[in-house]
């Protein structure tokens, strides 16, 4: 597999890719350069598209947890960090967390602790998804803000002007500027975003305007829709020739098409996981910790394996309508309760678990939409890993081991 495809797979699974001093961004990525010429790389989309394209096709994008609140906090951060409206929003300047919280308070007109907790939670989610960076009591705009297209900057400027200034002059003990100056001696200087070369031109160049747009739309749909999309809705999925080109586009990003009857989505190429494995869980960036993986395994056992063994789950899928009760996770497992709550939060935010609510006490968690994206080989491997773990001495486990050791 090409190194650039692997780099894309890594950026998708771990967040923005760290780059060494002067190292160029892999093909198809935007390089966000810091003053010391190190930087981060983020995948860019073909033909200036963004996931907002999905709205035109009425395909729901990946759900955002508490979307209204999260976006209001993002707007607040933008207000505090984007001080010079004559330049691009990213990188902006860092702002103290307290200023952000005060501005948010002024925006929604509530001053209670609950509001503050919600805002802090939203900041954490935005940090985890690289939309903002919270560090040492300072908030700055995250790398993903550099992906906002230039055309939309006017809308953002207008938005920032509408957000009220907080009324806090006499409360501040240390001036905001001093906090920022103390934390970062050389703020923001020399940071810039460099858009990478157009990556798919050799593939898309041969198509007319309409087909090209259809390919880009299908690409965005399989990559960013929450669920697999209907084949009938996208010409590039219906037509085998276009679909072939689509698969080639995806392959350059370490992705493959995954089919569910008449619906399509995309997943990691099966070659990606072993190739990324030697690097271990990324030292930088997002990765599932031990307790998160443990909780996810438990949900798979309770929502899929057990209903399957009882014959309640007819479909051959890793998604399930049988929720794992939170009580079951809390009371009958070896995962400490303190770690459970934060693990559930992380898994929910990543779309690995979906919360099912039913009445006051019932409900629980089922495997989330990410499980649509497992390739058949990955789904089979998941089954085998579960069997090896739960019944290591069964003939079935022996057969799995034998097949794996076979050349």
């Amino acid at each position: 597999m090409k190194p650039s495809a692997l780099a894309h797979a890594r950026a998708r699974s771990c967040g923005p890719l760290p780059l060494g001093p002067g190292a160029p961004a892999p093909a198809g990525m935007t390089r966000l350069t810091r003053a010391d010429s190190t930087g981060q790389a983020l995948p860019a989309w073909p033909d200036g598209a963004t996931p907002s394209l999905l709205e035109e096709y009425q395909v729901p994008p990946v759900a955002v947890e508490r979307s209204g609140e999260t976006r209001r906090v993002l707007a607040t951060v933008l207000k505090c960090c984007w001080t010079d409206l004559s330049v691009d929003p990213w990188p902006g300047v860092p702002a103290p967390v307290e200023l952000v919280l005060d501005t948010y308070r002024a925006l929604i007109g509530r001053t209670d602790d609950l509001m503050r907790n919600w805002a802090v939670g939203a900041l954490r989610r935005l940090h985890d998804s690289a939309w903002v960076a919270v560090h040492d009591g300072l908030v700055s705009l995250g790398p993903r803000c550099a992906l906002w297209p230039v055309e939309s900057h006017a809308q953002l400027q207008e938005l920032v002007r509408r957000i009220p200034e907080p009324d806090r002059a006499e409360l501040t003990v240390v001036a905001d500027a001093d906090i920022v100056a103390a934390a970062e001696p050389a703020p923001g200087g020399g940071m810039r975003a460099e858009t990478g070369a157009a990556e798919f031109d050799d593939l898309l160049g041969g198509y007319d305007e309409r087909r090209r747009a259809e390919l880009v739309a299908a690409y965005m749909a399989v990559e960013h829709a929450a669920e697999p999309v209907q084949e009938a809705r996208f010409a590039a999925l219906r037509d085998p020739a276009l679909r072939h080109t689509l698969a080639e586009m995806l392959a350059r990003r370490g992705r493959v098409l995954v089919q569910h009857r008449e619906r399509w989505t995309s997943g990691y190429d099966d070659g990606c996981a072993p190739a990324l494995e030697p690097h271990g869980p990324a030292a930088e960036g997002w990765a599932l910790g031990v307790s998160e993986r443990a909780v996810l395994t438990l949900v798979l056992v309770h929502s899929v394996a057990i209903p399957r063994a009882e014959g309640l789950l007819p479909e051959d899928s890793w998604l399930s309508p049988h929720p794992t009760p939170v009580e079951e996770l809390r009371r009958h497992t070896q995962v400490p309760i303190g770690e459970l709550e934060s693990a559930l939060r992380v898994l929910r935010h990543a779309g690995l678990l979906t919360q099912v609510k039913a009445g006051e006490e019932a409900g629980g968690y089922v495997p989330g939409p990410q499980f649509h994206r497992l390739t058949p080989a990955a789904r089979r491997r998941l089954q085998e890993e579960l069997i090896l773990a739960a019944g290591p001495h069964t003939p079935l486990a022996a057969a799995v081991r034998a097949r794996r050791s076979a050349p």
């Binding site: 963004t50 990946v62 759900a63 990324l276 739960a390």
Partner: protein, 409 residues
């Protein structure tokens, strides 16, 4: 267990579904296999599982009856849930095979007893039903292990046991091999009952080792046994392998029992659970916040709640009734003194009957006031009651206890 060629009717209230028919067929096939060695000819084994239930009901009735034994009527009563012709048929067969016998072998014997052997046999059958003989094999191996280790065991006995085990393993392996080449559905259904866990193979090999160490002369028999064990392990692996190959992506999860899954989820350490997902790539959270969506979220922000408006007030000064009531301590005392004085007038003593009037509601209020006056030592009036009580139904109040209000000062 012959049905003697009788045609039997099914219990009518149970509609026969495909699933029910399949499971009944599975039950019967085990019965047939169990007793194939004893049957006179094929078709001589029961062809309705209800017949076995009747036998079981009968045996438990016998167990409860104890030394009272059971008469024919009592047996019929115990099996009242089943149709009469099925019961008669069953009893005839059980009697014919000696499972139910007369207490004393005399003509016209009315009382019956059950055979212990048959009951044990039935228990064994039921257990075989559950796992196709796996746990029996475990027990058998454990027993044989004890036997061959026993100093009293002779070489001939050990040889016999090795031969028997070798035969059992060989037949077991053959059945698995046949299944493995058959349909995948049948394999999925039957294999977990038949294939051996590593533990059975290990036990069998342990037994084989014990025999060979103690009686090296038996090496030929032991070679046979070893070959049979290997053949069986191999057949198990092959059946599992075929299932693993044809499994789809979650279907094989059915092949581990629910209990195994529960035990795993409840006892596995965090690290063991996490290891399942090693090497799987998942997406980092990367929701897209479109500028338009951000602006929309700000527009939809909950507005600061407006201050509650106060209700409208009159523009004219209106102090209300406040102040018209004198709440001071002396006001109450003065009022009470006035009440007492107005009743007494010039006199120092008046009869209550003269002053309360005939209107009970106002008389009641007056009496309450006077009692208060009486209880206040600072007021110079007292009530004095006499024992006299006059009753006059025509008057109001009809019951009157007589008393006087007196001035004391």
């Amino acid at each position: 267990m012959s049905v003697d060629g009788l045609t039997l009717e099914r219990v009518p209230e149970q509609p026969l579904t495909l699933d029910a028919a399949l499971s009944e067929e599975a039950v019967l096939s085990t019965y047939r296999r169990m007793f194939a060695a004893l049957a006179r000819d094929s078709g001589a084994v029961v062809d309705d599982p209800v017949l076995v239930d009747i036998a079981e009901t009968l045996f438990s009735a016998f167990a409860e009856a104890g030394e009272e034994w059971l008469t024919h009527e009592q047996m019929r009563f115990a099996c009242r849930a089943y149709p009469a012709d099925q019961f008669d048929n069953r009893l005839r067969v059980l009697k014919g095979l000696g499972a139910v016998r007369e207490v004393f072998p005399k003509p016209n014997q009315l009382r019956y007893r059950a055979s212990f052997t048959s009951v044990v046999g039935l228990m064994f059958i039921r257990r075989m039903m559950d796992d196709g003989g796996q746990s029996e094999m475990h027990r058998l191996l454990a027993l044989e292990d004890l036997n061959v280790a026993d100093p009293r065991t002779t070489m001939e006995e050990a040889r016999q046991s090795a031969v028997n085990l070798a035969r059992a393993f060989r037949l077991w392996a053959l059945e698995l091999v046949t299944l493995t080449t058959g349909t995948i559905e049948e394999l999925r259904e039957q294999a977990p009952k038949l294939w051996g866990t590593e533990e059975i193979a290990r036990r069998a090999q342990g037994l084989h080792g014990t025999i060979l160490t103690r009686w090296p002369e038996l090496d030929r028999v032991c070679t046979d046994l070893r070959a049979a064990i290997y053949a069986y392990s191999d057949a198990s692996r092959r059946a599992a392998g075929r299932l693993a190959d044809s499994a789809g992506t979650t279907r094989n999860l059915t092949l581990l029992p629910t209990e195994t899954w529960r035990t795993f989820s409840q006892t596995a350490t965090k690290e063991r659970l996490a290891a399942v997902l090693d090497g799987f790539l998942f997406d980092a959270p990367a929701p897209w916040h479109d500028p338009a969506a951000v602006a929309r979220a700000v527009d939809e922000a909950p507005r600061p709640a407006p201050v509650q408006p106060t209700p409208p007030r009159s523009t004219l000064p209106d102090p209300g009734p406040e102040g018209s009531l004198d709440t001071s301590q002396s006001a109450a005392t003065e009022r009470l003194a006035q009440v007492a004085e107005s009743l007494l007038g010039e006199a120092s003593r008046v009869a209550l009957a003269d002053v309360i009037g005939s209107d009970w509601p106002s008389a009641r209020r007056l009496l309450a006031d006077l009692t208060t006056v009486d209880l206040r030592p600072e007021l110079p009036y007292r009530l004095v009651w006499s024992d006299e009580l006059s009753v006059d139904p025509g008057r109001e109040p009809a019951w009157l206890s007589h008393g006087h209000l007196e001035r004391t000062a």
